[in-house]
Symmetry: C2
Subunit: 200 residues, 2 copies
């Protein structure tokens, strides 16, 4: 029987790194195992395929697996054994943060992006997406510094907006934060930012 573990939700977990390397051999063992697990009343089968074993992916999709998610070096596939089994969602949101940065003269820091969607230039608050594992406060301070060169201190969360239909059909929450500038000199990120200024 294919190497596997049973999880606390009555599901089966297979790590393809420990499965037969040969696709035909894997196909045979998978078919036998799926029949046995269905018979035993299991709900879902999870199959994690490391990128080095990508040859096993077509075997799995031919056996009725669907993609659940991927990271750079693996794909996770899942197959329902019970038709109404609940497949939990993967991450659904991008998170971004933008800064209302004021200097000692009460001027507002604004930028104009190089890769903007509209042909006409417009100013916006500096900001961007959180890096994986990064906290909101750290992210907004970093984005302001990267885009404009201005060092700033986090003061408060102002508001956020939640919207759907962002990249690849996922959703996005964007937090607007109040920051106080700790430096005044603008050192623009030339690759991303076309213009950056203190707006009186």
């Amino acid at each position: 029987m294919l190497d596997h573990e049973v999880n606390r939700f009555n599901g089966i977990e297979i790590e393809a790194a420990h499965a037969p390397e040969d696709p035909e051999c894997f196909a045979g063992e998978l078919a036998a195992a799926l029949a046995a697990w269905e018979e035993a009343g299991r709900e879902l089968v999870w199959l994690r395929v490391p990128i080095e074993r990508a040859a096993l992916i077509p075997v799995a999709t031919a056996a009725g697996f669907r993609f659940h998610h991927s990271q750079e070096d693996y794909v996770m596939l899942v197959r329902r054994l019970r038709p109404d089994a609940l497949v939990p969602h993967y991450a659904t949101h991008y998170i971004g943060a933008g800064g209302v940065v004021l200097n000692s003269r009460g001027e507002l820091l604004v930028v104009s992006e190089r890769h903007r969607r509209s042909a006409r230039p417009y100013y916006k608050l500096p900001g961007g997406a959180l890096h994986p594992g990064e906290h909101l406060v750290d992210a907004v301070i970093r984005e302001v510094r990267e885009e404009t060169g201005v060092h700033a201190r986090f003061e408060a969360l102002v508001c956020f907006r939640h919207w759907h239909g962002y990249r690849y059909g996922k959703s996005d929450i964007y937090f607007i934060c109040r920051l106080t500038a700790l430096s005044d000199e603008i050192i623009r990120d030339e690759r991303e930012i076309e213009e950056c200024l203190w707006m009186p």
Copy 2:
């Protein structure tokens, strides 16, 4: 030359549904195209493989592609042509919402989960993850109703907490909301909730 489009970031996009079905034929065209695009100074190559064409995935990984993300019916792969080309992140967060639901006697609605992490039972606020495309307010009202049977009205956002290292290494933001109960009778979701009560 392999069918492709050039995007506004100087990247190449390939839709594998329009590529040769035969893996060997695809491998030859891909190798030739990659060499030409690298020569032309392109930055990234994006390859979207629908699940029906999963046989092309091992060809792509052998050609240096890495996984970017997947949805149920496709995998998106990406390959850098310039070593320092920026690969934008995919969705990084799960979003959840929990309700502080009070009834007319000032009692608090609490639940105890069936699949909890600790052996000892404990009470928590009803709540859960947002469905794809769902708004925060709708989600917390739905989760309260699904878990407890109680209909409730959204009043205000109380706070949120942001943490990292959730499922598959992604992050999570959980919003706590104030709700007023519009009904009193508890109809527990027996599959997920072990106990549910109005706590005086």
